[in-house]
Amino acid sequence: MALFGRFRKKEKRVLAIGLDGTPYSLVRRLTAEGKLPNFSRLLQTGSLNRMNSVLPTVSGVAWSSFMTGKNPAGHGIFGFVDRTTNPWEIFIPTSSHMKAETLWEILGKAGKKVVVMNVPVTYPPREVNGILISGFLATDLSKAVYPQSLYPKLKELGYRIDIDAWKARESKDALMKDLNYTLDKRLETMFYLMDNEPWDFFMCHIMETDRLHHFLWEKMENNDPEYAPQFFNYYQKIDEALGKIEEKLDDNTSLIILSDHGFCSIKQEVQVNYYLKQQGWLKFRNSPAKSLSDIDGESTTAYSFIPGRIFINLKGREPEGKISPGQDYEAVRDELIQSLLEMQDPDTEEKIIKQVYRKEEIYEGPCLEDAADLIAVPFDGYDLKGTLEKDTLTERTPIEGMHTFDDAFLYIKGEEQNREGIAINDCMPIILNLMDISASRTLKESTSRGKD
């Protein structure tokens, strides 16, 4: 094949780097301050766009929208946890619950070779034309690799899926050590695969930035003498890798770098179920409640999942449904929206909820039925939680940073013009376009951000 390959028309390739939770505003700031020399140089030869994430703004949902080009009702992933109704239980959605084709599956069908590393919600690995190493929430590396034959090599390289966040909760130094090790191994593996495997589309996702932000964002913002420099050093390490990547690019390869959401400091974590309980919308049979089956269906109107997803206790759908579909359901949703908008921080009396959407206002697609009935969006700083057992409205934990919706970014090398108002599910047609693949077949369904 090598012989023929030489005479073949050079095909367009794409190399994509995902930086989980890196805000557009942070990239602007660090490049302006000269902290990221390689990224600064890249900005001169490409466009840096501010990008919207998805609702709810969590990585699993955002990357699902990235890889399918659809909004959540199009791919069926609505959060890190979801529920079954018989039995009434929480489960964790994985790639096997994703009800749409992924970018790499579409590329494979078009005969393109792919290498996909570490993207969330790709576990268990679905078959691709090339290589796929699952990311966040993959349990065991040996089960997270397609094809299986690559596993011994990854083990030899010391590759790791994710850091151990329990350690991070105990010690920030242990966190930094773990983050550095995991990133080093990820980059080493990335360059190994880039150089040794055939590919038309290569994507490496760096989860570590999100972890860094969750545990150190406030320290960075407050210029903590010990940890702010470590925060910036970490970005410099990534910047060095971007420099090396740039050296490897040829004329046929486009580079894109993107994130899935922004970040800000947490003022308070907010227990939405506690609020619903206080306002009389939710009642438990046992206290502290441990599982959904502790919800007292007869006296419950609504309950919440992380972050800000509110399910109405609907007759015929929830196991102990109380609210009738139709008029009653609509009336309850109206009342709940009002009630949620009134939620206040008990310390400062600031409003917590910025907006509440009915699901059909922001989602469209075959999985709409599975979506929460209301999606509450908080003001930046209020991180909505969905635990059942907490007995306080607000609290602080070792977690310092939370996600923001409108501050993700998309960088495209070689593009001059900025793209206004794009969202993460617009990336797929952009990538297909960069590779000269007709997107018409997939586009019909995928430009479904229509309702954003």
């Binding site: 890190f80 018989n86 039995p87 489960f91 349990t139 599982s291 969905g386």
Partner: protein, 266 residues
């Protein structure tokens, strides 16, 4: 021969064959329907008198009904019952509230490791079935585990035409699965044919019943009106809800829950 008799014959053959190879064996009895059916087959295989002990791994969190059932039938059937608890872990405070994954690992997996080592068992009979769970589809009737308890499912001999590799290396122990080819429905039909007792949790009460039982803390009932064995058989013939759907506690999802919790997502 009818289907159930054929399954019964095969299972009894496997049970006797394994005992001939390994005298130092035991049977794991979870008191659930499958291992109770297995126990019944083992009793038949040895004409009512078991030549080896029956072991119950007790986490301390089992349903009361399970303990009552265990003690009643251990007495009635004259079993040499070993109840094994990982007391050291329990004393350390391991329990479902502090982490379900750790709890399962300590009170089930490590308890079993201990029990095997202490009693020097070379082989264990288990009542698992292929149709229970995806990963079990790859199981063999004679299935070796190495000293770390690892099951190398990629390197197993095939078991074509019921030819079993019944030998094990010294450092290994063998898991023997006489019910591997049975389905959930087969088990219930066998329960009916042999008039076997089952823990009453399986039968519907107030519109709910358990399809799979274990620790009270980690099992949830499913909606069901099946209050008798006959009604259960009818229900299983028609349902599309999976048997273990009431079990939150798959190791994998327990791991994922822990991960989400560590990041504040739960």
């Amino acid at each position: 021969m009818d289907h159930l008799s054929e399954l019964e014959n095969q299972s009894i053959f496997i049970i006797r064959e394994a005992y001939r190879q390994f005298k130092k064996v035991a049977m794991l009895w979870s008191i659930g329907k499958d291992s109770t059916a297995l126990l019944w087959l083992v009793r038949k295989a040895f004409y009512g008198k078991l030549p080896f002990p029956v072991m119950h791994l007790d986490t301390g969190h089992k349903f009361q009904e399970i303990y009552q059932f265990r003690d009643k039938y251990a007495r009635e059937w004259g079993l040499d019952l070993i109840v094994y608890k990982n007391q050291a872990a329990i004393d350390r405070g391991v329990c479902p509230d502090k982490g379900k994954l750790e709890c399962c690992t300590e009170l089930k997996t490590n308890a079993l490791k201990d029990a095997i080592a202490k009693n020097n068992f070379r082989a264990l009979y288990l009542g698992i079935r292929r149709d229970e769970h995806g990963i079990r589809a790859k199981e063999r009737v004679f299935s070796p585990r190495d000293e770390d308890f690892e099951w190398n499912y990629r390197e197993q001999p095939p078991e074509l035409w019921d030819q079993y590799k019944t030998k094990a290396k010294d450092e290994e122990h063998l898991r023997i699965h006489p019910l591997l080819g049975w389905t959930e429905l087969d088990v219930w039909e066998y329960v009916k044919r042999e008039n076997l007792p089952v823990v009453e949790l399986y039968l519907s009460k107030d519109g709910k019943r358990y399809r799979s039982i274990g620790c009270e803390t980690c099992c949830n009932p499913v909606d069901s009106k099946a209050g008798t064995v006959d009604e259960i058989i009818e229900e299983i013939r028609t349902t599309d809800v999976s048997e273990r759907s009431g079990r939150a506690q798959d190791k994998e999802s327990a791991y994922m829950m822990q991960k989400l919790r560590s990041l504040g997502y739960m």
